[in-house]
């Protein structure tokens, strides 16, 4: 978990566009020829982010809706487990005492 958190922070930093914008502004201040290159990088970064968002699973609903769906699924599993347990352990045959 500790190892995953720096990874999450890195991914958060990766998706930030500010460093690229900063680089562009720096190039503009220096009148560097790399401005166009930096602009291309920014566009590529934005396109990559769009593709990444399209491929991410589970974001077709809002967090609250997803939590509701999760709760429903958990309830379904619990209910079905209960039902199976009930019928497997239930003694259906009451043998009457011989009169």
């Amino acid at each position: 978990m500790a190892a995953s958190q720096p990874r999450l922070e890195k991914e958060g930093d990766d998706c930030s566009l500010l460093p690229l914008v900063h680089d562009i502004i720096k190039c503009m201040d220096k009148d560097s020829q790399d401005v166009h290159q930096e602009l291309t990088k920014l566009k590529a970064k934005i396109q990559e982010a769009r593709e990444q968002i399209s491929n991410m699973p589970g974001i077709d609903s809002s967090p609250s809706e997803q939590q509701q769906q999760l709760a429903t699924l958990r309830e379904q599993v619990r209910t079905k487990n209960q039902l199976l347990q009930k019928y497997k352990s239930m003694c259906m045959f009451d043998v009457p005492k011989a009169s």
């Binding site: 566009l17 914008v21 503009m28 991410m56 999760l70 699924l73 958990r74 487990n81 039902l83 019928y87």
Partner: protein, 263 residues
């Protein structure tokens, strides 16, 4: 805010990304224009920059939220698999219960049929003593089983033979020996009270007290007299005459022997 909460995370992310693109382009254009004109913009670029930073922060938060949703989505997939497994277990159980119900229904039906048969048998029940008495009665004449000392050649048979029939009530009713053979019993012979003389072998079921000429009363009574084994030759002749008139299918071997000797 309410509308923002209903929108999916994907939609919000894409919108945030579009805003970032627009803001960053606007900022770069403003900076480029301000450098060209060499006139400082009155904080407009600062405003755009602040918006850009704010939007970038929101975008990062949304990306973290999306990652969390991805993990939840994985858990949901596992739960869905478990739900499918439980569904198949329930279906299997349902099939087994259905099969058990069918078997039990068949067994119950058969048991009910048997109970009906038992009830029916009880209603028409007969005392075992009566059945045993009846069995003794019908087997007393050796009609169901040969006597223990029976050997081939023994004249005894499990059915009434010709001699026995003639020595019975029907035979006594036929007074005329010639007509009596065919089974017709003329009334005058009956009235005359004459009995055919027949050789009757002694059988266990025959009454020991026999007398001749008791036919008129014996017709109405339960006991009737039978002649003892005859030694009279006339009777033998009558028997032989009767036996010759009958077909040769007489089952009595004694009769057959007499027929052969007579011829």
């Amino acid at each position: 805010m309410a509308t923002a909460a209903e929108k999916s995370t994907k939609e919000r992310l894409l919108r945030a990304l579009d805003d970032l693109e627009v803001l960053s382009r606007e900022l770069i254009e403003m900076l480029a224009l301000s450098r060209g004109q060499k006139l400082p913009q009155p904080g407009e670029d600062t405003q755009v920059l602040e918006l850009l930073v704010q939007r970038d922060r929101e975008f990062q938060e949304l990306m973290e939220e999306a990652q969390q949703q991805g993990k939840v989505h994985q858990e949901m997939q596992l739960l869905e698999k478990e739900v499918d497994k439980r569904d198949s277990d329930i279906q299997q159980l349902q099939k087994q219960l259905k099969e058990a119900e069918h078997i039990l229904a068949t067994a119950v039906y058969q048991a009910k049929e048997k109970l009906k048969s038992i009830d029916k048998a009880r209603k028409g029940s007969i005392s075992s003593e009566e059945i045993i008495k009846y069995a003794h009665r019908i087997s007393a004449s050796n009609a169901v089983c040969a006597p223990l000392n029976w050997v081939p050649g023994d004249p005894r048979r499990p059915y009434p033979t010709d001699l026995e029939m003639r020595s019975g009530m029907l035979g006594h009713m036929a007074n005329l020996p010639t007509n009596g053979v065919n089974g017709h019993l003329p009334g005058d012979a009956l009235a005359a009270g004459r009995l055919p003389d027949v050789l009757t072998p002694h059988y266990p079921w025959q009454s020991s007290d026999v007398s001749v000429g008791m036919l008129p009363s014996s017709l109405h009574g339960n006991d009737f007299g039978l002649e003892p084994p005859a030694t009279n030759k006339e009777n033998e002749d009558d028997v032989e005459a009767m036996s010759t008139d009958t077909s040769s299918s007489s089952s009595d071997p004694t009769e057959r022997e007499r027929e052969t000797n007579h011829q």
